[in-house]
């Protein structure tokens, strides 16, 4: 069963699937960035703490740090993004996933926003 999706204040999303935390950036974030042309992903087996910078995305307009939403070890990265960074723009929650993490402390999810809370949060930014 899939867990509910959660969001950070930095616009990353995380969702537990088959015991791994799948991470990407939100639709709001990809719209803000515009055409994404480069993604620098972490190495597999590297470890991150919650809200540590884990990856970098370049759009034509700006570079954006991607923060790790949940502490753990990187198990898999989306290699396809090297050739197709535009997948993040086209399908931010599906084909544009970035990293899969084995979480070291699953309760960290509770500190993140739910979908409803995130939508409210974004509504206030606009």
């Amino acid at each position: 069963m899939q867990e509910e999706i959660r969001f950070t204040k930095e616009h990353e999303w995380v969702q537990i699937k088959d015991g791994l935390a799948v991470v990407g950036i939100s639709d709001f974030a990809q719209k803000q960035l515009g055409d994404i042309v480069s993604v620098e992903l972490p190495k597999v087996e590297s470890a991150f703490k919650q809200m540590q910078v884990m990856a970098i995305v370049d759009s034509i307009k700006a570079s954006s740090d991607i923060y790790c939403p949940i502490s753990g070890q990187v198990i898999e990265i989306n290699q396809g993004l090297q050739e197709h960074p535009e997948w993040i723009n086209q399908s931010p929650y599906d084909k544009g996933w970035m990293v899969k993490i084995k979480p070291s402390n699953i309760t960290e999810l509770e500190s993140l926003m739910t979908k409803t809370q995130y939508e409210e949060f974004v509504g206030q930014i606009k």
């Binding site: 515009g34 055409d35 042309v37 480069s38 993604v39 620098e40 970098i56 370049d58 034509i60 307009k61 570079s63 090297q82 960074p85």
Partner: protein, 352 residues
């Protein structure tokens, strides 16, 4: 500040950005999509934020000749040229387009970021000529791309095949008098349209009349990627008051056989640096100010960096010492990490 076309940008869902005090569209359908549309068909740009000044009077030709490095004395009526305007040190005050309408009437188009500065600068060197700021009454659009002539020919009776690069001519579009020049900032064929600012509906009329040619509105984001691919300078990034036209790839605009402000500084100066292009061997984008290293030593900084949608590469421009060669390997520092890049010419794209 807003141009007369602001409402059209909003209703086309443009993302609006602040550009030197102007609320301008940075993108509509996306920078890459807009860029590729200009390269393959045609795009319409609002460039009314740029400045337009008339210099008139019996010695206006002399005045303009002293202000720019290029030779306007050889211009025919209704023809123009591109030139830097230099200060006494040979540094660039602005890069401009000058049109000679006739011996006593010149039209200068200047960068938006330098509108006030240029007006002051030119005013200080007028002698008995007059300068008039016509930026409010005349708006400026650019129509660029391989289908630009087909598009524009649909809405004007003026025979555009007679308009050569840098020609300017009076014409009528939708029954309104305007001027059309064969100029642009994209590296494609194209036109700039000087029109009556009280009739901004010309924007939607152009879009509707040429829809079958796949015309799209183009924002400042794609304007920058297009000009960078074409090797065109961006004032404030690649050239400024502290760079000379000899350091930038603008030697071709400098006519030392005539007099102009800054000439003495340029005659005596041997450039110690030069502007070159680079291609990054990674997809990370270089940005203005990123350090450039050659043979392990810091030797310059990136002036412009972006993504080339045509080449699908990370490209840019930087100043380096004059002994750096083409194809030489350099390093660009991006976000604290060094990335390898290859030196190349400043022109990444040439149209067919």
């Amino acid at each position: 500040m807003r141009t007369p076309f602001y409402e059209f940008h909003k209703s086309s869902n443009a993302k609006i950005t602040d550009f030197h005090g102007w609320e301008m569209p940075i993108e509509y359908s996306g920078i890459i999509d807009e860029h590729l549309n200009v390269r393959s068909s045609v795009g319409l740009f609002d460039v009314s934020h740029m400045g337009r000044y008339e210099i008139k009077g019996s010695n206006s030709g002399e005045v303009v000749q002293s202000l720019v490095t290029n030779d306007v004395s050889k211009l025919n009526n209704n023809h123009g040229l591109y030139a830097p305007m230099c200060n006494e040190r040979g540094g660039i005050v602005d890069d401009v387009i000058v049109f000679k309408i006739n011996d006593n009437n010149f039209l200068i188009v200047v960068n938006a970021s330098n509108r006030d500065k240029d007006f002051q600068w030119i005013s200080q060197h007028l002698k008995s000529a007059n300068i008039k700021n016509v930026s409010e009454e005349i708006s400026l659009l650019a129509l660029q791309g391989p289908l630009a002539q087909s598009a524009l020919q649909k809405i004007t009776e003026f025979d555009l095949s007679q308009l050569k690069p840098f020609d300017i001519a009076p014409a009528e579009i939708f029954g309104t008098k305007c001027m059309i020049s064969r100029t642009g900032y994209t590296g494609e064929d194209g036109f700039e349209i000087f029109c009556d600012s009280s009739k901004p509906e010309i924007w939607s009329k152009i879009m509707d009349s040429t829809a079958e040619l796949n015309i799209k509105p183009i924002g400042l984001g794609a304007r920058d990627t297009l000009r960078l691919e074409a090797g065109l300078m961006l004032y404030g990034n690649d050239i400024d008051e502290d760079t000379t036209p000899l350091e930038a790839p603008l030697k071709w605009t400098v006519k030392l056989e005539k007099d102009f402000i800054g000439k003495n500084a340029l005659i005596n100066k041997k450039p110690a640096k030069k502007l070159v292009g680079f291609e990054v061997k990674d997809r990370r984008i270089a940005r203005h100010g990123n350090q450039v290293m050659a043979n392990g030593t810091k030797c310059g900084a990136v002036t412009s960096g972006s993504f080339s949608p045509t080449l699908k590469k990370s490209i840019g421009l930087c100043y380096v010492p004059v002994d750096i060669t083409m194809d030489q390997s350099i390093e660009i520092e991006i976000g604290g990490k060094n990335y390898e890049a290859k030196v190349c010419g400043t022109r990444f794209y040439k149209r067919n």
